[in-house]
Amino acid sequence: MAGVELTGVRKIYPNGAEAVRGVDMTIEHGEFIVFVGPSGCGKSTLLRMVAGLESITEGEISIDGRIINEVSPADRDVAMVFQNYALYPHMTVRGNMSYGLKNRGNSKAEIHEKVEEAAKMLRIHDFLDRRPQQLSGGQRQRVAMGRAIVREPKVFLFDEPLSNLDAKLRVQMRIEIKRLQRRMDVTSIYVTHDQTEAMTLADRLAVINDGRIEQMGAPLELYNNPTTLFVASFIGSPQINLVPVVFDGDKLISGDIALSGFKDLPTDADLVLGIRPDDLTQNGEGEVSLRVDLVEQHGAENLIYGALLGAAAEEGEETEICIKVDQQTLPKIDATLKLGVNKSRALVFRKDNGQRVL
């Protein structure tokens, strides 16, 4: 049982724009894969190529070992959930869910049974005879998923399905999607620009930038061991702190700051030091200091934003950093905090090509 396989997939639009620049990927059966990246990076295009809504300029996509480049969307055995739900407004929920089955020539009894079953699973049983306009956003999204489920496809495709929902509902639906996917054991590809969604849903996630896969792996792997500056800064919330540095042989230097304990780094290039907010701790004899600018109270923890004192920066500007502290720590604005750096978890990148060197 194979899942989905992409080999050397490229997409070049007739106007010459290259949206996908060669993607290779193997997705196992039952895996939940998330494509994540900034808008315009080509992640949706890639998904739509799997769905058959965009032609494949070069390369091959296969599902279960069958190459589907020239197969029509209907015959690929995939189902898709759209961002704006794309429900047929003039049909009832039942009509929406059975339309695909009807076109495939299933019998009435069979359709009825499948729709009832999916409706129960999604708890939309009470709305089966309503129109989409009479439903809330979350309910509509459920119907859209129901429409995908009843077809029992080999692959589920999700194109930013939660972006139109409010924050609370989004979290709730996120959990439901995950649970549903587990239960049905169907290979799924999910596109989002929200890194929290990506981290929490994915078995493996693919960070896509400018039409290429920057890195693919389990969420924690990407969080702990990003191979590029882009991945490091894209994954993780609050964002990783980035400080421009140079290496002088045994210390990382940024303006007046010198951090010892590093070795074997290139001395001839500009580097970027990346430290996650959790890896900075308040500490009396810390090596760096922060002037508090803003404290964000999130309940369980506080995020402190401020300027890294002494760091090299453009004239008149300061290097902003963020640290995570417990809820009791509430420093005054403009107070100076001494910080310790967890060097074992520090990441160092080359500034020119973004590759990780430590």
Binding site: P73, A74, M80, F82, A86, H90, Y99, G100, N103
Partner: protein, 284 residues
Amino acid sequence: MKNTNWRLIYAHTVLIIGVIFMSFPVWVAFSTSTHDDVTILRNGLQFWPGTHFFETYWEVLFVEGGVMKSVLGTTMLKNSLILGIGFAVGKVIISMLAAYAIVYFRFRLAAPLFWIIFMTLLLPLEVRIIPSYEVMAGLNLLDTHTGLIVPLIASATGTFFFRQFFRSVPEELLEAARLDGATPWRFFVDILIPLSKTMIAAILIIMFVVGWNQYLWPLIMTTKEENYTLVIGIKQIYQVLAEGGELPQYQKAFALTILATLPPVLVVLVFQNWFVKGLVESEK
């Protein structure tokens, strides 16, 4: 408060004057049609209804020789209805199909073809009336309903309206339908047509009125009395009046005029909700 009152009075005065201005001639036509021929000849136009309403309308509608030489008012009414409905339905079908092709299918010259269709807006029937007549004559379709309707049903206006409407339908609906295994024809029938319901209704109504009021083409196309539409009938009856001989039957001419205005008015009145919806709202 006082201010708003004055504005209301002002606005209503303007509206009422407008209404009187528009409906006065219709009223005069109606009143005159209910008098007998002698009264009209002697006293001219009548401003209040007379006593011959049933007599006149009965003769116009149901009595042979009552209005034309042989054809009945009801026959002309039927012809007009066939023309109006055929014209409207034909236009909707043709222009929907054309717009569907233009919006949803990628074929060479789609854009130039659309603009060519659009440009025919600049060419009214009058420009092509002789060639069209020639074609219909060649096909032996003179004096038939087919010949009356078919040359008129290509519609740039309709195509344009449907094109605009189809372009406002979210693309995802098409994509969802494709994934749901809908063929282009099924997508058209199952999704596009139901979504266009109000639009179709609005265009049907407009086109029915336009078709009903067609004058020049039916005038040229029909030679036999039994194929006359009401509008042509009115023209013929006035001609008879002008040529003289007997006592001019003005009341019947007016009755025919009133009869000719009724169906479009009824259609608009009955369907005005749909009509406004179709023009204003886009259901998505």
